[in-house]
């Protein structure tokens, strides 16, 4: 009787265990579409066998709970790649807006408006026309109007770049609050995880922490260090502590030179964040490196063209026989004081076309030697050792190369993220076919245990009836 009873208890344990395992499968199925959910598998443990008279008797199995199917190394690798991909995505978006200001001119006459390269050529060509007819009013007007077109397009481009820079600044500043709320949440989760499961995977809590980490990785470049009792320490890529187990350091912002800078405590980590990765890294790289590069080039172009043309015009003789002086200079453009800011401040100050000094110093007003000299500026190395057109051509191809390079980087990084994501999903995502198969197996196991239970019941009845079939059924 004793062995029959123990067989009964063994079977009821088996039924319990199967139910618990089915519960886990049901939970997996229910969470198949939950973002960040990691598939759980039931843990089975063989009960301690009993030894009687040297014979070992099995005592069944117990379901001891669920384990999340997780590869922390893979997850961390995914986070790191995500940081790179987010950085290049954010930078690429910013650069796309920048290069939209310099759309290549297809060469048809309708598209020449707004192209700085064409404007430069038109401006210097207008001096060539004036060279042929130095006293002609319409040719003089043409010089001023092409100067205005050039100035309009250069200063528009500079203004647009400046406003794109401000927009990036705001977006970067907006990331701060998201980063802070995520680091806060991770610190809270650290505390819960350390208290509930210091030695093993924390399941759903760990899922939440991983999801927060992946969010944080999209925003900012981070390093993760696992500490004792399943805690986690997070630093920026450059090593600034953001989360230490249960406490988090807030990222704060302040304005330095008109741009938002980022601080942890009193340390300015802006330039480190720029190279660190994440959206913030991308925004800051575009804001502090890419756009200023283009702006500087435009400034240099505006500065050199303005000062060279002004200097020549000031030494010649205008249509009224006047030569410019220090006190009363004959300037076509406003004379820039410094290179920085020249592009957006560039303007045409001359209103009277007669003031264009086509004639050389001391020559009659019908002379064209100064107009000729100004036309020749187009082929002289007046901008950083290059002709204006060569300089602009370089600006355009340098910008194009940068965008193209970031595009390539971004494509490669996204492919890598996809690949890692696929690997991670292959491991941790809920596969419904797997669940269906597990469920069938567990169901069968449950049915089998029930069958054994029924048989044991029959055996028990036979034993109770001592062979008489009718007493107990």
């Amino acid at each position: 009787m004793g062995t029959i009873n123990s067989a009964f208890s063994l079977m009821s344990q088996a039924l319990d265990a199967d139910q618990a395992a089915l519960n886990i499968v049901a939970n997996n199925v229910a969470n198949a579409s939950t973002t960040g959910y990691t598939e759980e598998t039931p843990n089975w443990q063989e009960n301690q066998p009993v030894e009687i008279d040297g014979v070992s008797y099995g005592t069944g199995a117990t379901e001891t709970g669920a384990t999340s199917v997780r590869d922390k190394v893979l997850e961390q690798r995914l986070d790191q790649q995500q940081q790179l991909a987010s950085a290049s995505s954010a930078r690429l978006t910013a650069l796309d807006s920048v290069q939209a200001l310099f759309t290549p001119d297809s060469g048809s006459s309708s598209s020449t408006a707004g192209d700085i390269g064409s404007d430069l050529t038109s401006f210097f060509s207008s001096f060539s026309s004036l060279e042929a007819n130095p006293t002609d009013n319409s040719d003089r007007q043409a010089v001023l109007s092409s100067a205005k077109t050039l100035v309009g397009d250069i200063s528009n481009a500079a203004d647009s770049l400046n406003s794109q820079r401000s927009a990036l600044d705001q977006e970067a500043a907006g990331v701060t609050s998201q980063v802070n709320s995520l680091t806060n949440a991770i610190a809270q989760l650290n505390l819960q995880i350390q208290s509930t499961s210091p030695n093993s995977d924390a399941g759903t809590l760990e899922d939440q922490r991983q999801q927060d980490l992946s969010q944080l990785s999209k925003l900012v470049g981070i390093n993760q260090i696992t500490t004792e009792n399943n805690g986690l320490e997070i630093t920026t890529t450059s090593g600034q502590l953001l989360v230490a187990d249960g406490s988090s350091s807030q990222l704060t912002t302040g304005t330095v030179d008109g741009m938002t800078h980022f601080f942890v405590g009193t340390t300015d980590i802006t330039s480190k964040l720029a190279s660190g990765g994440g959206e913030l890294g991308g925004y800051l790289t575009a804001r502090d490196q890419d756009i200023p590069d283009v702006l500087n080039s435009l400034d240099q172009l505006a500065y050199s063209v303005s000062t060279s043309v002004n200097a020549l015009n000031n030494t010649g003789t205008d249509l009224d026989g006047v030569t410019g002086t220090v006190a009363d200079p004959l300037y076509i453009f406003n004379e820039p004081a410094a290179v920085a800011g020249s592009a957006s401040a560039m303007s045409v100050v001359m209103t009277d076309p007669n003031q264009i000094a086509a004639a050389g110093t001391g020559d009659g007003t019908g002379d064209n030697s100064n107009a000729s000299a100004m036309a020749n500026l187009a082929s002289q190395a007046i901008v950083n050792g290059q002709t204006p057109t060569d300089y602009y051509s370089n600006l355009v191809s340098t910008l194009g190369s940068t965008v193209s390079q970031v595009q390539t980087e971004n494509t490669a990084q996204n492919a890598s993220v996809t690949q890692l994501q696929t690997q991670n999903d292959a491991l941790s995502s809920v596969n419904l076919n797997d669940e269906a198969s597990s469920m069938t197996t567990l169901e069968r196991s449950y049915q089998a245990a029930s069958q054994v239970f029924t048989m044991l019941n029959t055996i028990m009845a036979s034993a109770l009836n001592l062979g008489d079939q009718t007493a107990v059924s």
Binding site: A132, L432, A436
Partner: protein, 304 residues
Amino acid sequence: MRVDPNYVTNLVSSLDQTQLTEQQLTSELSSGVAITSLSQNPVASGENVLLLNQIQQDDSFTQTSSLVTGQLQVADSTLGSVVTELTQAISLATSANNGTVNSNDVQSISNQISGILDEVQSLANTSYQGQYIFAGGQTSTTPFTTSTATSPAVTTYNGDEDINYLETPNGQKIQLNVPGNQIFTGSGSNSVFAALNSLVADYSTGTVNTSQAVNDTEALNTALNYVSQQRVTIDNSITQLGAASDAVSSEQTQLTTAQTNLMQADVAQVSTQLSLSETQQTALEDVIAQLNSTSNDLFSKLPS
């Protein structure tokens, strides 16, 4: 080995990529432009700036040169008229010098040469679009004025010796004007006006100092030859300008072809790519439809 159960998501992102390609190709076809942003081809974008610069310069020079040619032709035909007038003056002077004409006729010849002098002076003061063409750089000052206070009268040049040049896109300099003093008041016996003024004075009294008159006629003859020489300078400029303009036009044609090849879409190639992309899109859609049908799920095979 387990596989990623979310493969349909990956296929959808491939589908997005295909559609992006199709969009790009369609816009190339509709605009005819292959490079719509710098990053598509940074080198070609930079090259394009340089090509367009050269094309625009050439275009502008072609327009300028046709205007300038007009001005040079006016100068040339003016000098042609001057030559005709001077030839007539010489034949009048020769007839006065041969001693067969009476004093009335000599005075009449003096008046006729005086008329020619006025005519030549007005030709020398020719303006084009309001600017005197034989005044050097002083194009707003009447270049030649005559003072009759003395005998012979004196014609003065009020312009300067400034010469304007037009530079072609290739750097060649073409002379645009000849200062009036070079043509009409050249030094010594080259001066048209001095010779004409002297002749008018020689014949004004009706009595001819033959040796003086013959010398002055000789001087006018020399001056005429000198004017013809100066005219050659202008003719040369017209020829140079024509040649430069032709060269620039043919360069412009070549550059435009190069620029078109660089920037324009190759319709046949783009169409082929578009067609390939469309096939790929259809295939992807079919695969997704197949994979996504619920009958492939193991759950659907379980007894209900």
